[in-house]
C-alpha cells in the first residue's frame, strides 16, 4: 500500500465486505437478484468513485489502490466487483475526454455513489469487432437521436445512465462517437436478462435505442473519436477485470487451502499428499503472479506512462489464472467442491466469463502481439 489512506481504505472495504456482502452473497446469487442496496452502501462509503478527481466527488486514488479495492470485493462477491468495475468504466470517457462544462455537469452525479452506470459498446453482431457496430446517432436540431441495439450490457434496466458508443458516419472505426444517455430517456428499452452460467447478480441484457433523443452536450469528445475513447477505456477496464479475477482466484485458493488443512484421509491431512500440496503451491504462484501483473500495469498508468500492452497481459494472465485456480480448487474439495454447499462450483462458473468479457483472451493476445511486432 502506497499510503496510510490506502491502508485505511482497504480496511474499510474489508469491513463492508465482512458485514454487508458476505452474509448476502450466497442467497442473492441463488435468487439472482440485483443487490441494489449493496451498491448504495458502497456508494455512500465512497467506493464507487475511487479513481476520479476529488473536485468532482471522487477520491483521487491511484489505480493501484482502486484495483486492490476491486480485488477485495471480488474475493467476497464477484458480481459486485464486476459491477464496481463496470460503473467505474462508465465515468471514464467523461473524466478523460469530456469538456470542463461536461465534467461539471455530469461527473458529480456519476461519482456521487447515488447513481449507477452501464457501458453500451457491444452489439449482437459487433463483439470483438467494435468497428462493425451499426447503432447510429443522427443529428437533430438540438442534439442527437440514437437508434440500434446494444448487447451484453451489465446493469441494463438498473442503470441511471448509459455510456454509449454509436456510429455518426460510415467511416468504419473513424465513424464512431461516444454519448451519455440518461436512464429515463424516452425510447430506451430493455430485453429480458440473459440466462447466464454465472455472475447471477450482475443483470445483463440487450438495450434497445428507438429514436432516443439526447442533448448536444451529451456527445463526449469529438465526433468520430469514439473508437479511440472505447479502446482507451478498455485498457482501464481490463485492469478492473484483472483485479476482480485475482480476487476470485484468491477466494478459491483460500477455501481450498482451508479444506486441504482439515480434511483427513489415510490418517493425514490431504494437503500433506504431494499431489495436492503441489497443486496448492501452483495455485498460489498463479494468484501472486496475476496480482503482480495488474499492479505493474496500474503503476505504469498512475505514472502517466503507456500501459496498453501491460493491461492486456494482466487481463490475460489474471483471468486464465482464475479459471485454472477455481477449477483446481473444485478438485481439491473433491465431491464437496462440485456441490452447491460450497462456493467453489460458483467460483468456477464465474471465472469462465472473465476470459470472455472486456475483450476475449484471444483479443488480448492480439493486442499484446501487435505491440511486439515491428511494422
Amino acid at each position: 500500500m502506497p499510503t496510510d489512506d490506502a491502508t485505511d481504505l482497504i480496511e474499510l472495504t474489508r469491513e463492508i465486505c465482512r458485514k454487508d456482502l458476505a452474509p448476502r452473497v450466497d442467497d442473492a446469487e441463488r435468487a439472482r437478484t440485483f443487490p441494489e442496496e449493496t451498491f448504495r452502501t458502497l456508494g455512500r462509503a465512497g467506493l464507487l468513485s475511487l479513481p476520479y478527481p476529488e473536485e468532482f466527488g471522487g477520491a483521487d486514488q491511484p489505480y493501484e489502490v482502486y484495483l486492490q479495492v476491486v480485488e477485495e470485493i471480488a474475493s467476497v462477491w464477484m458480481s459486485v466487483a464486476v459491477g464496481v468495475s463496470v460503473h467505474s468504466l462508465t465515468a471514464y470517457p467523461i473524466a478523460s475526454f469530456g469538456t470542463p462544462e461536461q465534467k461539471e455537469a455530469l461527473l458529480p452525479g456519476m461519482l456521487s455513489g447515488e447513481q449507477l452506470g452501464a457501458y453500451c459498446l457491444s452489439e449482437p453482431l459487433a463483439g470483438s469487432d467494435i468497428a462493425s457496430m451499426t447503432t447510429r446517432a443522427t443529428r437533430t436540431d438540438d442534439g442527437w437521436s440514437l437508434k440500434g441495439t446494444k448487447a451484453w450490457i451489465s446493469h441494463a434496466g438498473h442503470a441511471d445512465y448509459y455510456t454509449t458508443f454509436a456510429r455518426t458516419s460510415d467511416d468504419g472505426g473513424r465513424g464512431l462517437s461516444t454519448f451519455v444517455v440518461p436512464g429515463h430517456a424516452e425510447g430506451l428499452s430493455f430485453a429480458d436478462p440473459e440466462k447466464k452460467m454465472g455472475l447471477h447478480c450482475d443483470p445483463v441484457a440487450q438495450v434497445m435505442f428507438d429514436q432516443v433523443r439526447i442533448d448536444e452536450g451529451r456527445l463526449v469528445g469529438h465526433e468520430g473519436e469514439g473508437m479511440h475513447i472505447a479502446l482507451s477505456a478498455l485498457d482501464a477496464g481490463r485492469l478492473g477485470i484483472a483485479a476482480a479475477a485475482t480476487g476470485l482466484a484468491q477466494a478459491a485458493l483460500d477455501r481450498a487451502s482451508e479444506y486441504a488443512s482439515e480434511r483427513e484421509q489415510f490418517d493425514r491431512r490431504i494437503g500433506d499428499f504431494q499431489g495436492l500440496a503441489f497443486l496448492l503451491a501452483d495455485m498460489e504462484a498463479a494468484v501472486t503472479s496475476a496480482r503482480a501483473t495488474y499492479l505493474h500495469a496500474a503503476r505504469l498508468k498512475d505514472a502517466g506512462r503507456g500501459y496498453s500492452k501491460e493491461a492486456a497481459v494482466a487481463k490475460l494472465v489474471a483471468t486464465d489464472a482464475a479459471m485454472r485456480v477455481t477449477t483446481d480448487a473444485v478438485q481439491v474439495l473433491g465431491g464437496a467442491g462440485y456441490t452447491e454447499d460450497f462456493p467453489l462450483e460458483r467460483y468456477m462458473r464465474e471465472a469462465k466469463v472473465t476470459q470472455i468479457f472486456e475483450g476475449t483472451n484471444q483479443i488480448q493476445r492480439l493486442v499484446i502481439s501487435r505491440h511486439l511486432l515491428t511494422r
Binding site: 481504505l9 474499510l12 463492508i16 454487508d20 465512497g46 477520491a59
Partner: protein
C-alpha cells in the same frame, strides 16, 4: 447541542480472546481490538441527532494507547473530536473506577461548553456488565434513561430526551429533561460505515489526551488494587457436552416439558 459519546476499545469478538496470566485482566496485547460494536449504535445515534439539528459530538474513551483506534473509528464515522484518557494506573479498573474516570472527563469537557447529552452503548462486548451508564449518570447527577430502542430529542439543548425501552411484554416510554444520560440498544439504528471522505477528514480532527492528573483523580482510586471485585482465576470453558437424550417410552412429551420447565425455558 453538545453530545459526549462514551466508547470502549474491546478485543475483537471474532478472534480468540483470553486473559493475562500475570494479573487475570483481559489480554489486549495479543488480540486485535476495535470499537465495541454496541458502542457504534451510540455513535450513530449521536450523529443523527446533531445532523438533524446542530451541535458537536465528542467521543470519549478510557483505555490504553491502542484505544485511540476506537476514537479514530468514531471520528471516521463523523464525530467531531475525541478525548482519550490514558494512564497506566487505570489498568485493571472495575466499573466503579471506570465510571469515576469517565465522569471527571465529562466534567472537564463540560468546562468548555456545557454537555447536554451523554450517550453510551448498552454494555461493552467484552465485560458485558452494562452497569457503567447508570453509575456514570449517578456520578454526574444526570437522569439515566437506559436501554433505549428509540430516542427523540425535543426542544434542543434545554429540552427533553424521550426513549422507548422494550420489555418482554410491554414498551415503556420514558422522558427525561436534558442534560441526561441515555444508553442505547442494538435495536435503535443501523450504524453507518465510515466513508472514505470520513476517513480522510478524521485525520484532521482534534483528539485530546488526558492522564489522571489532568482530571484531578488520585491514582489510588482506580486500577486493579482499588477494584471492588477481582478475577481470582480463569479457565477455558469446558467443551460442550452432549445434550440430554429423552427416550420416548410413551411419556416423552411430559419428560420434555418437565425438562424445559426445570431449565426455565417455558
Amino acid at each position: 447541542m453538545n453530545i459526549v459519546v462514551c466508547v470502549k476499545y474491546v478485543p475483537d469478538a471474532q478472534a480468540e480472546r483470553t486473559f493475562n496470566a500475570s494479573d487475570n485482566t483481559t489480554d489486549r496485547d495479543n488480540v486485535d481490538g476495535l470499537l465495541s460494536e454496541l458502542d457504534e449504535y451510540a455513535v450513530e445515534e449521536a450523529l443523527k441527532i446533531v445532523e438533524a439539528g446542530e451541535g458537536e459530538v465528542t467521543v470519549l474513551t478510557v483505555g490504553p494507547a491502542q484505544a485511540a483506534d476506537a476514537i479514530k473509528k468514531a471520528l471516521q464515522m463523523g464525530a467531531h473530536k475525541g478525548v482519550h484518557v490514558d494512564d497506566d494506573a487505570i489498568h485493571g479498573s472495575d466499573a466503579v473506577a471506570t465510571s469515576l474516570v469517565l465522569a471527571e472527563a465529562i466534567k472537564k469537557i463540560g468546562n468548555e461548553a456545557p454537555v447536554d447529552l451523554v450517550v453510551t452503548g448498552m454494555a461493552s462486548t467484552d465485560g458485558t456488565m452494562g452497569v457503567v451508564p447508570t453509575m456514570l449518570a449517578e456520578r454526574l447527577g444526570l437522569p439515566a434513561v437506559t436501554f433505549a430502542s428509540e430516542l427523540t430529542i425535543d426542544g434542543g439543548a434545554g429540552g427533553t430526551a424521550t426513549i422507548h425501552r422494550d420489555g418482554d411484554a410491554s414498551t415503556q416510554t420514558i422522558t427525561a429533561t436534558l442534560p441526561a444520560l441515555v444508553s442505547v440498544t442494538d435495536q435503535i439504528n443501523e450504524p453507518r460505515y465510515p466513508s472514505f471522505k470520513g476517513i480522510m477528514a478524521a485525520k484532521k480532527k482534534p483528539v485530546e489526551k488526558w492522564a489522571l492528573a489532568d482530571l484531578g483523580i488520585d491514582p489510588s482510586q482506580v486500577g486493579l488494587d482499588a477494584a471492588w471485585t477481582k478475577v481470582e482465576a480463569f479457565a477455558a470453558r469446558p467443551p460442550r457436552s452432549q445434550g440430554e437424550i429423552v427416550p420416548d417410552e410413551g411419556d416423552g412429551g411430559r419428560k420434555l416439558a418437565a425438562f424445559l420447565t426445570e431449565h426455565k425455558f417455558v
